[in-house]
Amino acid sequence: MTAIDPSPNHLQLTRGGQLRHFLTLDGLNRELLTDILDTADSFIEVGERSIKKVPLLRGRTVVNLFFESSTRTRSTFELAAKRLSADVLNLDISTSATSKGESLSDTLLNLEAMASDMFVVRHSQSGAPHFIAESVTPGVAIINAGDGRHAHPTQAMLDMLTIRQHKRSFAGLKVAIVGDILHSRVARSQIRALNELGAEEVRVIAPGTLLPRDVEDLGCTVEYDMIRGMRDLDVVIMLRLQKERMEGALLPSEREFYRLYGLNQDKLALAKPDCIVMHPGPINRGVEIESAVADGPQSVILNQVTNGIAIRMAVMSMAMGGQMAERQQKQMEREGGRA
């Protein structure tokens, strides 16, 4: 009896199926995800040029709206926008407007008045980019750079790009995500992407306190025991553990977590010999992963960082392309109506 269309696609896709915003991977099909990966592939070589720029967003203004701090994600978005020749404005909102009592809606109105074309949004509340996408004037693209526990779609896509580079195809892959699934926006997006792209099995490995209710509904299997969970893996993705998880009786201690769920060489040896090790960073060495593994030959953690720029270039250029196509379509419809 719900009166609304709860699917995210009405918001983030144009009628022609192009990206208008990039808010979540929910509802995006394999073809579109593959398109993002292919586009990102084509941008990798831009970073290898002496002049690292293409003119796709020349004359466009991209605003990095970070309501919670994240040096790495913001830097890669900034670099990606600049490599696309956009003008970039970085705003650390957590220490400015909203802390003075201004509402998010008012902040947006002010920024829109500066004729911005794209907002890259990082927010501690799930759904904030959706709210912004519904609030802004048509024509302004919203890119989700991580919201609450909900989604971090560009991080998931750069992980997919990294996996594809090392494994060529997703078919038959067994992937495990280890650690704090409950609070992880990255894990939700990764599970969605891996399922859509055709991975054989997505496994989550965590204690019961760090798993969301009915997590299997996301499309994964659950394993509480990491020794069992590491068997036959092609990819293991370690998640960052926040220090505050020891409070509120989620975990007894970092020491126990590392003993049970930390990735060391012994546990990694249980996976396939060519299993790659991933981590969205920043790493807590000795909590989630031991240094010998983080810096070892199976680690692709630095590849993930490099791929982050290419993925963000791909998503930004595709969303801007979708916005332009939609504008042209509406213009044609108006002119057709007048004729």
Binding site: M1, T2, A3, I4, D5, P6, S7, P8, L11, D26, S103, L104, S105, H123, Q125, S126, G127, A128, H130, F131, S135, D147, G148, R149, H150, A151, R185, R188, P212, R213, D214, V215, D217, L218
Partner: protein, 432 residues
């Protein structure tokens, strides 16, 4: 006929009469004088009157009684006031609303109760029955002056949507209310288990990364309250149940003699957790919308009579309260104008009988606050006349409530209130 015209005799002909006891029959004719039904049948039809109303094709029911309505007065004028929200209630077919104690200041003293009653008598369109705060400031710690609240006109006491600090204080609240024969109305929620959540802990919260309120936050509280009510002998009313297991526990407690009644908000009967899947803040309510299985169990609970009343849980808000990312918005929806239409959709889908719907809007809540809404000779003429076949489309412009965040704005609804009478006075007349 115009709203507000008073002291005129009125004859209502035609239509189907729902007499408040659960039966429907053809209207034999109703004659209303000086606020009361004075004749039915041939005597009514032959009477000379000032005004006549043809209700052919309509249903004539006792005016609806709402056990949970937030009028926002005193305090929060930007969200609504007695005048605006009681007029909205009249549009929804309600002739009596129980005013939540969650006002500013909180209704925890006879002075505030008098303020509400005075405002209602001077500016209200419908009857307003205040619910007193059982604890001072609704803080859940210190008892309010319950004797004073009762003498001032509070028909029951409760803690609004807020919890009581611990079971020991809860037990004392019940024992003290029992002293005065006051019904206690509690929304069952274990605060520690609900913590900072704002959505049902289920499939949608898992997918969207929203902070969940588990079902056990309600069921643990229901069980605790039922046991304490059994021990203290108080009349317990459980407000706004949201889970199927709560319905089972109420039924079992009643079987063993616990004096317990229960209500459910209409939106809990119609929507599920899926309504939040698009981060739509209009559906951010507390208790949260739960699973489809819970929704079905709640509807079955109403149909079986385990749940006595359907309430609006009307919570008007200003725009700013809902214009933010979902977790930052305030819970509650503007609902009182669309309760009947939503209920009729359940009737149309075969989930609920019209008799049970109307009983849960009239006799059920009336019994809990000491009213007997009936259509008989001598009864006060509080009536709702609606056209079950008509449709309407609420919009921000046509909604009377200050709160415009109704879930059904711009959606075609069936069943339209045509005339609402309070003590024989038309307080809402549809002119179309």
């Amino acid at each position: 006929m115009k709203a507000g015209s008073q002291d005129k005799s009125l004859k209502i002909t035609g239509g189907t009469l729902f007499d408040g006891t659960g039966t429907e029959s053809d209207n034999p004719g109703l004659l209303i004088k000086e606020g009361k039904i004075v004749a039915m049948g041939a005597d009514a039809l032959s009477a000379e009157v000032d005004q006549q109303y043809d209700a052919s094709g309509y249903v004539i029911a006792p005016g609806f009684i709402d056990l949970c309505c937030n009028l926002r007065e005193p305090g929060n004028g930007q969200k609504g006031n007695i005048a605006s929200e009681t007029l909205a209630a009249a549009h929804g077919g309600f002739t009596t609303v129980c005013a939540s104690p969650e006002t500013s200041p909180v209704n925890d003293s006879s002075a505030v109760t008098h303020l509400i009653r005075d405002g209602a008598s001077s500016r209200g369109s419908v009857r307003v029955l205040p619910i007193g705060a059982i604890t001072r400031g609704l803080e859940g710690e210190l008892l309010s002056d319950l004797a004073g609240l009762k003498n001032a006109g509070c028909v029951a006491v409760g803690n609004g949507s807020r919890g009581i600090k611990n079971a020991r204080i809860m037990r004392r609240c019940m024992a003290y209310a029992r002293t005065f024969g006051l019904t206690v109305m509690f929304s069952p929620e274990n605060q520690a288990l609900a913590a900072d959540g704002y959505a049902h802990d289920g499939q949608v919260t898992t997918r969207l990364g929203l902070l969940g309120i588990p079902e056990v936050a309600e069921t643990a509280a229901v069980m605790e309250m039922l046991l304490l009510a059994e021990e203290t002998g108080v009349k317990l009313h459980l407000s706004q149940l949201s889970s199927g297991r709560s319905v089972e526990m109420v039924a079992a407690a009643r079987q063993r003699g616990v004096k317990v009644t229960a209500d459910v908000a209409m939106h809990q009967l119609c929507f599920t957790e899926e309504a939040l899947a698009g981060f739509d803040s209009r559906y951010h309510v507390r208790p949260p919308l739960r699973s489809e299985a819970d929704r079905q169990a709640l509807v079955a609970g109403v149909q079986a009579g385990v749940i006595d009343a359907i309430v609006s849980q009307h919570q008007p808000h200003d725009t700013a309260a809902k214009q933010a990312p979902l977790p930052a918005t305030e819970p509650g929806l503007s609902s009182i104008e669309s309760v009947l239409s939503l209920g009729l959709e359940l009737v149309e889908s075969g989930e609920l009988s019209r008799q049970r719907l109307l009983t849960a809007l009239t006799e059920g809540p009336g019994r809990i606050v000491g009213l007997s809404p009936e259509i008989t000779c001598g009864a006060v003429a509080d009536l709702c006349i609606f056209n079950p076949a008509a449709s309407w489309q609420p919009s921000e412009q046509t909604l009377v409530s200050t709160g415009k965040h109704a879930p059904l704005v711009e959606r075609k609804l069936s069943g339209k209130v045509e005339l609402t009478l309070v003590a024989g006075r038309p307080v809402w007349v549809d002119s179309h």
